[in-house]
Amino acid sequence: MNAAAPILLFDRVICRFGDITAVGGVTCDIAPGSFVALVGASGSGKSTLLKTVNTLVAPTAGRVLFGGEDVSALNPARLRRRVGYVFQGVGLFPHFPVAENIAIGPRLAGETLPPARIAELLALVELEPGMATRMPDELSGGQRQRVGVARALAGGPELLLMDEPFGALDPVTRAALGAKVRELHAALGLTTVMVTHDMAEALLLADRVLVMDGGRIVADETPRALLAGEGGGAAQGLVAVPREQAERLAAMEGLGESRT
C-alpha cells in the first residue's frame, strides 16, 4: 500500500477567475515514478491545474496534496524549491549567466553549487561546460530550454512539472529534447507531469495520458489504450490528428515504393 501511495493528489480542485471556470472539479492521483501527460486544447484548464501544484495558482475550492501534505499549508518558496518547473517561455533570467541561472534554486536555499555540479547538470542536458559563462541572449532557443531543464533539475527535485516545455522549439530540437527528458526521468527516478497540446508528443513520451476538456478530465488512459480507441470522443478527436498524419505519411511512402 505504501509503495502505491500517490506523490500527488488532486481532490475536487476548482479554479475560477471571475466568471470563468478554468478547472471545474478535478480529482485524480499520480503515482511516484510515473510520467503523466496532461493534454487538451487551449483553454482546457491544463496549465492552470499544473500551477496549483506549486501554488502559482491557488484553487478556489478543493485541495492538492504533495507527498500527503496540503500544498496550501506549505511555505510556497520552500515548496517550489522541491518541485522542478520548466516553463513554456523558458523564463531564464536575462541578467544572469547560464551557471547562475542553473544554480538559482540552491542559491535561494543558501547553498552554492560547485562548478563541477554545474558542469554535470550541463552534461545531463547535453551542453558544453563552456556554456556556463554565456548570457541567455547568446544561446539558441533549444539551448535555452536545455538550460531551463538543467535549472529545474539543479535542486534534486522529487517532482518535475513541465508547462508546454517544447512549444516554441523547431521539430528536430523538440524531438531530441523530448527524448532527453524521458531519459532523465528514468535515470533520476523522477515523477514528471507534462502539459502539452500535442497528442503525438504525449503518446510518445508519457506512460499515462490525462485528457482535459472544459476544465475536466475526460479521459485517463495509457497511450496504448488511447491508440486502441479508448477514452471517449474528445480524446479520440485529439488522437485522430497524429494518426491521420502518420497514415498519410505511410501511404505516401508506400506510393513512393510502388513507383520505384
Binding site: A77, R80, R81, F87, F93
Partner: protein, 512 residues
Amino acid sequence: MGDIWDILPGLGDKLAAHVVLSASAIGLAMLIALPMAVWASRSPVVARIALGLASLVQTIPALALLALFFPLLLSLRAVFGEGLPTLGFLPALMALTLYALLPILRNAVTAQANLDPGVLEAADGVGMTRWQKLTLVEAPLSAPFIMAGIRTASVWTIGAATLATTIGQPSLGDPIFAGLQTQNWALVLAGCLASAGLALAADNLLWVIEVGLAKRSRTQTFGGMAVVMLGILAALWAQNAGSDERRIVIASKQFSEQYILAQLIGARLEAAGYAVEYRDGLGSAVVHSAVASSAIDISVDYTGTVWTNYLKRADNPGREVMYETIREWEWRSNGVKVLGRLGFENAYAFAMRADRAAEVGVTSLTDLVAVAPRLTVGGDPEFFERPEWIAVRDAYGLRFAGSRNFAPTFMYNALQSGEADVISAYTSDGRIAADRLVVLADPKGALPSYDAMLMLSPRIAQDQGVIAALTPLIGAISVEAMREANLAVDREDAAKMTPKAAAAQLAVKAGL
C-alpha cells in the same frame, strides 16, 4: 559680453550650494519614490494615487511651490519648536524633492509594469520570496529605466533649484535674480550658463551609469557612480570650508534699492571687522518673518509695508505716530530692533509719462478719476492685493479700464511703450527723474508713508559693535541720493554700475 568670463569663476560657492541642494533633493526623492514604486507595482490603487499626486505637484509653478513651504514650516514650528528653519535649505529641499518625485516614480512604475511576465513567473517558480524576487530580478532588470527617470529628475531639479534664491537658499539663481533686478545681463547669462552646464554634466554622467546598467557593465556603472559621488563630496567640502563661523546675514528684496542698501550695510560691517553674507532677491513676505526668526540678521523694511502687512492696520495716523508704533511693536512682539530711519521714503505713488498726463489733463489723483475708465494701470505683482491700492481706489473712487502686473524693473518700460498709462511707482526710484515722469498728487492723503527702517534680528539686537557700525546710516540718506544710486544701477547705458559700486558712491554722498 566678455565680462561673463570674469563672473563665472566667482560663482564657485553658488555652484557648490547648487550641487549640494540638487543632489540632496534627488537623493531624498529616490528614497521616497523607489519604495513607493515597489508598493505601486503591487497595488494599482496605490499606483494611481501616487502618480496622481506627483503629477498634481508638477502643475504647481516651481516658484509658488518653493514659497508655499515658508508658511507651512512656520506653522509647523508649533509642533517642532522655534528651531525649525523656515527659510533656506530646508524648504528648498522639500519643494525640489516633491518636484523630482514624478519622473522617478513614473519611470520606476513603468519599468516594473513592462518586465517580461515569463521572467517574473520563473522567479516565483524557482521559489523566490517576494524580497528575493525584488532584489534579484525586478530591481536589476528595471534599473536602466529607473536611471533614465533619475536623469530627467536631475535636469529638472538643477533648473528649478535656481528659484531657491527667492527663499533665501544660495544657488546659481543668485546671479540670475540679481542680474534681472539690476538689468545686468552678463550676470544673468553667467548664472544661466553655469546652471545649464551643471545640468548637462549631470545628464551625461547619469547617462553613462544608465548605459552601464543596461550593458551590465560593472566597471562603467560603478565608475560613473564614483564620479557623481566625488562631485557631490567636492561640493560639500567646498561649502563647509567656507562656513566656519556664523556670519551676519543681510537680506535684500527683489529691487535695486535693496541690493544697494544691503551692500552699503555689508561694507560698513566688514570695515568694522564682521564677516557678512548676503541673501539677495528674497520675496518681500519672507524677509520680515526671517528677521524675526533670526534666519536673517539685517534688513531694510518700510513703515507702510510693516503697518499694513504685519500690524494689519488700514488707518493713517501720520508719519511719526506710525513709525513710533511700529518701533514699539517690533520690539515687544518680535524682539526685532528698529535701529532707526535711513532718512528717505520709498512710498507708493502714481506716476504717468509727462506727455500723456498733459494730454489727458491730469496732475493729481482727483483729476485721474474722470479719465481712469479709459486708462490701464500697471503695478508690481503684489500691488493690486495691497491695502494701499484698495485705500486709494476707495478714497477717490478710481475705476480703470484694466490693470496689469509687471516686475518692478519692467513697469517703467511698460509706461514708455504705452502698455500702461499709469503705474504704481516708488518715490525713491531714479527713473522718475530720468524718464521725466509726473508723480500725481495725493490731496486726500490716502497713501501711507514708507520710511526706510534698518531692522536688526533678535540675535544681534544687543550687539554693540553692529549698532555702532550702523548708527551713522540713520538719517544720512536723502531721497535724492537714493534716487541717484538707484538710477545708476537701473540705467542701461555706459554709466551703469553694480549695486556694490553704487553703494560705495552713495556712502560718499551721504558723508560716511
